[in-house]
């Protein structure tokens, strides 16, 4: 799958999920419609988004998405049309949330980020693991082979649903199951 689009350059490290979407916008029960709150906890966030209205690829610095587990961070990016976040590193929970919401978390090194922050657009080939700038520079990255399937098919829950019988079988035969029955169920 190819993701191609305008770059939103966010030249900051440690962008936490409170900045991506503050807690007072976490009051809904649906996963949609959160794009309007994207970066509303960030100084200059609204101006940045306004300056790059067509952007669909976020390029940023290390440890993106740290802090709270709120999947609203990924939902707000997806709702705003972002298909990839390119950074030297991600916080674990955001990294998982991105894959589960159609956003490719693309890891490249700091030097690549230096280049990409100055590009207007990039073309990302998720299957080949390549990232191409308009000037012809190419960078390579590796996606998690399993989570890539979730990304392409949107299928985390479907994947889990298909595992239920195997999990029940494991539970029935594991020693863990015997110990579990000895201990209190919460009811």
């Amino acid at each position: 799958m190819i993701v191609e689009g305008g770059v939103l350059p966010l030249d900051r490290a440690n962008v936490d999920t409170d900045q991506i979407i503050p807690a007072h916008f976490l009051t809904g029960i649906e996963t949609t419609g959160l794009g309007k709150h994207l970066f509303s906890g960030m100084t200059g966030g609204a101006e940045l988004l306004a300056a790059y209205p067509a952007a669909s690829i976020l390029v940023t610095r290390e440890n993106f998405g740290c802090g709270s587990s709120r999947e609203h961070a990924a939902w707000s990016l997806a709702d705003r049309g972002f298909r990839a976040v390119v950074a030297p590193s991600f916080a674990r929970i955001f990294f998982e949330n991105a894959y589960n919401n159609g956003i490719a978390p693309v890891v490249v090194d700091d030097a690549a980020i230096d280049t990409l922050l100055g590009e207007a657009s990039v073309r990302i080939d998720l299957d080949a693991g390549t990232l191409l700038t308009p000037g012809g520079a190419q960078m390579r990255f590796v996606l998690d082979p399993l989570r890539k399937e979730f990304l392409l098919s949107g299928g985390y829950m479907a994947f889990m649903a298909a595992k239920r019988d195997a999990v029940r079988a494991w539970l029935a035969r594991s020693a863990q199951a015997q110990e579990e029955t000895a201990f209190s169920a919460p009811m």
Binding site: I29, T43, R92, N97, N101, W170
Partner: protein, 453 residues
């Protein structure tokens, strides 16, 4: 082959190895709160026949905004409540609830060797019991509700050995801030932290939870502490735990979880904490913390300085505050409230001060000891339990530019309110600062006015 505590827990829960170094990991317990659960619950209702893997493994807690502050949060609480009722899931609701990371252990739902997931990053708190407890997103929590498992990349294990014993004035919060500032804000990413060392031996479960609570602030998946007599004593006789021989059989199993001698770790960090002083954050992430006797570092990050309106070399004790908060999943348990009360007894706060117990059970226990009188006599606001001001969602949102000293866990820009500034510290430091109106420690306070108790 000798195993670490984490390896023992992990290995006992791997259902299937998956591509890319991932594994399908069984989840013994799911803690579900109203902010991050409804979306997954509704998805399962819409697409999977409303069928849960095992409702008896789930504990539901309305905790973030309880009571509801508006229609939207009322709907969140109602969705969680209706879902719990529909499936026979145990629910801690208004009046019996509190912060999920406080309620779950105090009700006996967390024990050594278990895996536990919750859609909340501070679930790492519960690693204090020697459980593999981690925060996950809504989709991952939903997957666990649906199929009893998480998909996880196997984390690396870092042993963090805390040598020496804490001296007077230093607390578990200071340990936590020390660990985060030593490792750095992302120094633990990709790891679980397995704590070890002499400093742990004297820590209560409350204090261990405070320490593990902030593992996520170093980016770690979680923090774990090997279960010992302190752990077993905490659980013995607790509700939702068996009694008598059945409990002691569990203890025998839990003892075997201790890390084996010779266990191998992906990384080793040793910190001598014998001389640890109270720590206070100056910047915009918890790693930007220094001893209270110190100053804003010379190499401070300019963006953090700008946001906090501070300059390099500024002594911490000279920083004036506008508000104080004692609460959050980091420091809101009975021992935290006692520490704050010891400072506030017979004294008066000079800035608006909010004190929020971690659960309604903690609130009642505190009131039986008269702590609510101490706080209110001092002029502080004593509230019901809530996540409250910690995340700027309700009950004490900061105004832009306002500076708060807080016993919570995050000092991110805007965390406690747009433009608000947060300094993290222990309850005793927050209490002393509330009295003096600037960052301060209890030893600076003049003797309190004697009060009859």
């Amino acid at each position: 082959m000798p195993k670490s505590l984490f390896e023992k827990v992990w290995d006992a829960h791997v259902v299937e190895e998956l591509a890319g170094g991932n594994a399908l990991v069984f989840v013994d317990r799911i803690v579900a709160h109203e902010i991050t659960t409804p979306q997954g619950a509704l998805e399962i209702q819409r697409s999977y026949g409303d069928e849960l893997f095992d409702p008896a493994r789930i504990v539901a807690i309305n905790d973030h905004v309880s009571p509801a502050k508006d229609t939207e949060t009322a709907i969140q609480a109602k969705v969680l409540r209706d879902w719990a009722k529909r499936h026979g899931i145990v629910l801690y609701d208004l009046g019996q609830n509190g912060i999920c990371h406080v309620v779950a252990p105090e009700r006996g739902y967390v024990e050594p060797g278990m895996t536990l997931a919750c859609g909340d990053s501070h679930t790492c708190t519960l690693g204090a019991f020697g459980a593999f407890a981690l925060g996950v997103g809504t989709t991952a929590q939903g997957g666990a509700m649906l199929a009893g498992c998480l998909v996880l990349a196997r984390p690396k294990v870092m042993r963090v050995t805390l040598d020496g014993r804490l001296c007077a004035g230093a607390t578990a919060k200071d340990l936590a801030l020390c660990v985060v500032s030593t490792l750095g804000f992302k120094g633990g990413t990709g790891y679980v932290l397995e704590y070890a060392g002499e400093a742990l031996t004297t820590l209560s479960m409350d204090e261990r939870m405070t320490l593990c609570n902030m593992a996520i602030e170093a980016g770690a998946t979680t923090g774990l502490i090997g279960p010992d007599e302190t752990t077993f004593s905490y659980l013995r006789g607790r509700e939702n735990q068996p009694t008598g021989e059945a409990f002691e059989r569990k203890v025998a199993h839990w003892r075997a979880l201790a890390a084996d001698p010779g266990a191998r770790y992906d990384r080793e960090v040793r910190i001598d904490v014998a001389a640890l002083r109270p720590m206070v954050s100056w910047g915009t992430n918890p790693g930007e913390s220094v001893p209270i006797d110190g100053a804003v570092p010379a190499d401070a990050e300019p963006a953090s300085l700008r946001y906090m309106d501070l300059e390099c070399g500024r002594p911490l004790r000279s920083i004036e505050i506008d508000q104080a908060f004692i609460g959050s999943c980091t420091n809101s348990r009975l021992s935290d409230l006692r520490a704050a009360a010891e400072v506030l007894r017979g004294r008066t706060v000079s800035v608006p001060t909010i004190i929020t117990p971690g659960s309604q059970a903690v609130k009642r226990a505190a009131e039986r000891e008269g702590l609510h009188d101490v706080f209110q006599d001092a002029g502080a606001l004593w509230t019901h339990s809530s996540c409250g001001p910690c995340l700027g969602m309700s009950m004490g949102v900061l105004a832009p530019g306002s500076r708060c000293i807080s016993s919570s866990n995050r000092n991110f820009p805007g965390r406690m309110g747009a433009g608000g500034r947060v300094h993290l510290a222990s309850p005793a430091i927050v209490a002393a600062s509330a009295v003096l109106g600037r960052i301060a420690s209890p030893d600076e306070l003049v003797p309190a006015v004697a009060v009859t108790s």
